[in-house]
Assembly symmetry: C2
Homo-oligomer: 383 residues x 2
């Protein structure tokens, strides 16, 4: 009789994953306590723990001393046994961040890119920032269990950018192929707003929320959605693209900031919003008027999303979220009359970290998913 | 040892429901064949079948003859053992329809009501049409296992109309309370567009569709949505209310038909659309222009829903769906340029039956749900 044929193997896998999750979520534990928690016999748990130690999912801690008898064996989740890499390809910068399996961020790097740079240059900068993050974390590509890349635009399930207006020469780029070459692990590609929504649900304002609308405000305006706590991509990955509807003002919203009177000559595009919101905070009338117009147009698209979805919460994030104190009041004032009832509206505190955080969460979820793929051997956290 | 304590009772319930579903979905069967299908011993299945016969979920058919030995006992799902009642409260009519547990419609009644009639009159007409349907089906209220009432407006989870612009004096009406008095069974209340969406998924154009946008076009314009095959109500039941956004043209869409040149004096509001679309079909220029304008405004709201959700399919139904041959071409022509990609768009064939069909499906789902409520005794299909 073998432990690895058919149903027996499947049952052992369930027991392995249950044991792993119990340690991960409950903290370091003795084997006796662990056996009690998972409800299996001590010898079975010892065998399961042995397999998880060998695979690298658990690690052994120094035994507990100071008690009578043999010191108890202690095991803990080996969070640093592997890592995930999250990438954010933006108009003016590319970012990469690395987290261990507990979600603790161990590296975070940013590089500026020109908004009008071509595909090759943007991909090169992205690869460079990914390598920089690996170096900062002291890891090789083999130490990564999953990669997730966020980009503006509509992305196919295979990781190819299908539609994109924000980045030049970006339609058709196979991001999974272009950026996944060095990695022997899953490489996911997802719309950046969807990832930012996931970040809010993981570590931001939407932790107890089922249906979320996340609005990215900044140089571009976009939206991502969670329904039932999961990313809603839609039939072809194009959910949340309300900005494409000319009737709502998202296409013209940033122009109110760029056209603000008194903008110093030579202000770079990515600095315009910060400048205008800063002056509005100090009471400058031209800047306040620009913010008013911006909030008006932003509200139109948000209203369309709210009236369609009736979400539990709307979170506005992105570059402008640092100006939340200036934006929130006029945005509420324009939004509420457009909706049947005032929606719950908050300004994100995650700012520019949202997309990489969401990308790392998405990658961690992928690692979790593979644990439950009963048709494959128990994955090692790293190859 | 009792069969009805704790886990044993729960396991027996699972076995009962599995047996019931196997017969319902697989058709009449001998007990031997049934035991094979559910994978339980013959004595166990006999005991389960006995309980389901007594409860009224199954019925015994005449035994099979013409074979050697003892004739085999045959059992079948007792579809006529109980019924569900679906109700549709509209502006110009109220409808009620009754289906047996297999979903076969056994009665269907309609009464006209005046669009400007008050709450009491509309409720009286609704009760009358429900009684008429019961009479037509030869049933008493006790023969109904679940009722579902569809209404325009936003409905609370408790069955109270919270927001409504279509029907006079309708906000605050407790439909579950007002219409449920005679029934000793669950009485559900749901937005009519959500129910029409469910009908498309049950028996219409959306049978293989996960995410559906259903647009009700007619005297009013409204929308309902399925996500993952289930009604998406939103936080407070207000999903799909894109018509409330003045930027999209749903509020003015019907006025193009009502303002059509050449409308005979005294045409009743509910006849206007049929008249205009009929003339448009014959090539009348004024009517074609009215349809063109109507399609333009309808497309704006649909585009907002499509760009938000990226659904698998959009179905347009309601009173105007009988004019689908005239509506579809201009609607596609106005809709496609507003969307990132042309959405799948179809005209419903269910016409005025959509809401009562969806209401009956929702009631059948509720009956199904109670079977799995392990904390209650196995329900009898009728009280």
């Amino acid at each position: 009789m073998t432990q690895h044929g058919g149903d027996t193997s499947r049952l052992r896998r369930i027991n392995l994953v249950t044991t792993l999750r119990t340690v991960r979520d409950g903290g370091p534990t003795s084997l006796t306590e662990l056996a009690r928690r998972v409800g299996l016999s001590r010898p079975t748990v010892e065998s399961l723990v042995e397999e998880l130690l060998v695979a690298g999912w658990l690690k052994e801690l120094p035994p507990e001393t100071g008690q009578m008898g043999r010191p108890a064996r202690l095991v803990a989740f080996h969070a640093a046994g592997s890592h995930v890499l999250g990438v954010d390809i933006g108009s003016y910068s590319v970012r990469a961040a690395i987290a261990d399996l507990s979600g603790a961020v161990v590296a975070s790097c940013t590089r500026p890119v020109a908004a009008d740079c071509g595909r090759v240059e943007r991909l090169d900068a992205t690869r460079a920032v990914m390598e920089e993050a690996l170096k900062e974390a002291g890891l090789a590509a083999g130490g990564i269990a999953a990669v997730c890349v966020g980009t503006t635009g509509v992305v196919t399930a295979e990781g190819v950018v299908r539609l994109c207006v924000g980045l030049p020469d970006w339609v058709g780029v196979d991001l999974a192929g272009e950026l996944g070459g060095d990695f022997d692990c899953p490489v996911l590609v997802e719309n950046d707003c969807n990832l930012a929504a996931l970040a809010e649900s993981w570590t931001g304002l939407a932790q107890d929320v089922s249906d979320l609308v996340f609005v990215l405000s900044g140089v571009r305006t976009g939206a991502g959605m969670l329904i039932g706590g999961r990313i809603h991509r839609g039939r072809r990955g194009a959910a949340g693209e309300i900005g494409a509807l000319p009737l709502v003002g998202w296409h013209r919203a940033p122009s109110h900031l760029a056209g603000c009177q008194g903008l110093p000559p030579g202000t770079r595009p990515e600095e315009i919003a910060g400048h205008v919101f800063g002056r509005a905070r100090e009471g400058d009338p031209a800047a306040r008027w620009a913010v008013e117009q911006y909030a008006h147009d932003l509200a139109e698209g948000i209203a369309a999303l709210v009236l369609t979805m009736d979400p539990d919460l709307v979170v506005v994030g992105g570059g402008l979220s640092r100006s939340g104190d200036v934006l929130l009041e006029p945005l509420r004032r324009h939004l509420d009359p457009l909706c049947l009832e005032p929606p719950r509206l908050e300004i994100s505190a995650l700012a520019e970290r949202a997309v990489t955080l969401g990308a790392m969460r998405h990658a961690l979820d992928q690692v979790d998913l593979l644990l439950y793929d009963f048709d494959t051997p128990l994955p090692r956290p790293t190859s």
